[in-house]
Amino acid sequence: MSAGWIHRPSRDTQRRTWAYYPGCSLESSSKEFDMSSRAVLSALGCDLVELDGWTCCGGSSAHAVDHVLGAALPARNLRLAEELGLDVVMPCPACSARHISSYHELQDPARAAKINATLDAPAKGTSKVLTILDALDQAMADIEKGDLPFGVDMKVVPYYGCLLTRPRVGAGAYTNEDEEPVIMDRILEKVGATVLPWGFKTECCGASLSFTVKDAVLVNSARILAQAVDAGAEAIVLACQLCEQNLDLRRKQIAKHSGRLFGLPVYYVTELVGAALGLAPDELGVDLHAVEAVEPLKAAVTPQVEAVTE
């Protein structure tokens, strides 16, 4: 059977081209986020051009030591996107938050001058940053619930974490959804998941504090998992590899610390969209999670009869 069921944007001119910045984590410890982001955006009719010669944004360290350094490292990458004349998709929320912050500083002439004084060539601040949620939201704009070839029948809580909705003033297609974001909810409803309400959408898991105050990570992550279970969720869906590492990879450490072993799997939003598009779990990297995630996903994926008969 042809792949005709894969969603094609209604107008041919709608094919989107974005620059792509994976970031350091997506090259190694979180490669499934990279795999699923690329596979899903490609299946949705988007072309991604990886920035040639991209460098680290400085993470949570550069801005903590020197503000100009923390803005200049991302500005270099923004300049690479400007050279291509493209907006840039950044799945890692730590990267996107730093680049969005830098983008905003570049709009202020005095601050831009300070930043550009450290670069080989100036960044103009013309290329916008899209988080993976912004990119999916745009790429799936024409898709309604039931349009995709498969449905993912699963009760989930959408977990945005802290950085995905911050800083408040976004550079991309932001809707000022900072405390009660719904952009991921909308995507999950389109793939057929039941999105449950809960109060921990934007609570921080402790992020990279695993290197400095690990207890903060274990306590906060245990709290998030407990809230998800109490909300009745079968899985947590997220879009941040730091959250994924803390909630999935550190599950045994959390059990040791809190005395509670949580069994629910964690998925990247891209993995669920990919499953609804008909991509196999190993194409999406679902088999690379620490807590068993492949079987629950397989059990939840069901063909959408209407889409096949079309």
């Binding site: 350091c24 984590s25 090259e27 190694s28 410890s29 979180s30 490669k31 010669g53 991209w54 460098t55 680290c56 400085g58 993470g59 949570s60 360290s61 550069a62 801005h63 903590a64 030591v65 020197d66 503000h67 100009v68 350094l69 923390g70 200049a72 490292l73 270099r76 004084a117 450290t118 670069l119 080989d120 802290c162 950085l163 911050r166 800083p167 408040r168 900072d178 405390e179 934007t202 609570e203 921080c204 898991c205 402790g206 992020a207 990279s208 504090l209 290197f211 400095t212 105050v213 690990k214 207890d215 903060a216 906060n220 990879l249 550190r250 045994k252 450490q253 088999d287 690379l288 620490a290």
Partner: protein, 187 residues
């Protein structure tokens, strides 16, 4: 170190003006509602709650804030900044505090975060991108806890997620090194 009540109003005003010029944030606006501390995920591990940091700045006790454990450990989640009714970007203010602490070579109450940042930045300065394995290994050595997180290493290793790159360097034409040289100089 300035003690509470010893800084004159003029010194306090001038210092808060300087902080505002650097960070765009005015600590004088805070009226102690406490929302920043209520929402802070690291609050329990802080020595000074975020709202108290603001109050200490208003009182002129700058060095206490600059060298506090709180300023060092802040996770930069920006929950405080989002929730401030006076629209103070508290996270940005905390960044300014630790920037000044680093720049002046002050010794913070807790040095673990600063050691981590140094290890992280040295890593990207020499390679252009972060080698996560190298970062974890170096940080554990600096912290004299060589076996921290070894329990999760096999999980990463057997799933091909430990990307071991030795001596690889991104082709950036040396620009990253020049950015470091022009900002922090030697780390």
């Amino acid at each position: 170190m300035l003690k509470i009540g010893t800084a004159t109003d003029r010194i306090i005003d001038e210092t808060l003006d300087a902080i505002r010029a650097e960070s765009g944030q005015d600590a004088r606006l805070c009226y102690q509602c406490g929302k920043c501390s209520a929402g802070c995920p690291v609050h329990a591990w802080f020595d000074i709650a975020p709202n108290r940091m603001l109050h200490l700045l208003q009182l002129g006790e700058f060095e206490t804030v600059l060298t506090s454990r709180s300023a060092q450990l802040c996770a930069s989640c920006f929950a405080c900044s989002m929730r401030c009714p006076k629209e103070i970007d508290v996270g940005r203010l905390i960044d300014a505090a630790r920037n000044i602490c680093y720049e002046r070579g002050l010794t913070p109450v807790d040095e673990v975060a600063m050691r981590f940042h140094r290890t992280f930045l040295r890593n990207i300065r020499s390679h252009g991108r972060l080698g996560e394995l190298m970062l974890a290994a170096m940080h554990n050595m600096v912290q004299l806890r060589p076996f921290a997180d070894v329990d999760i290493a096999p999980e990463l290793f057997f799933k091909g997620k430990l990307h071991v790159s030795l001596g690889g360097k991104v082709k950036d034409g040396g620009e990253v090194e020049r950015i470091f040289a022009k900002t922090v100089g030697k780390i």
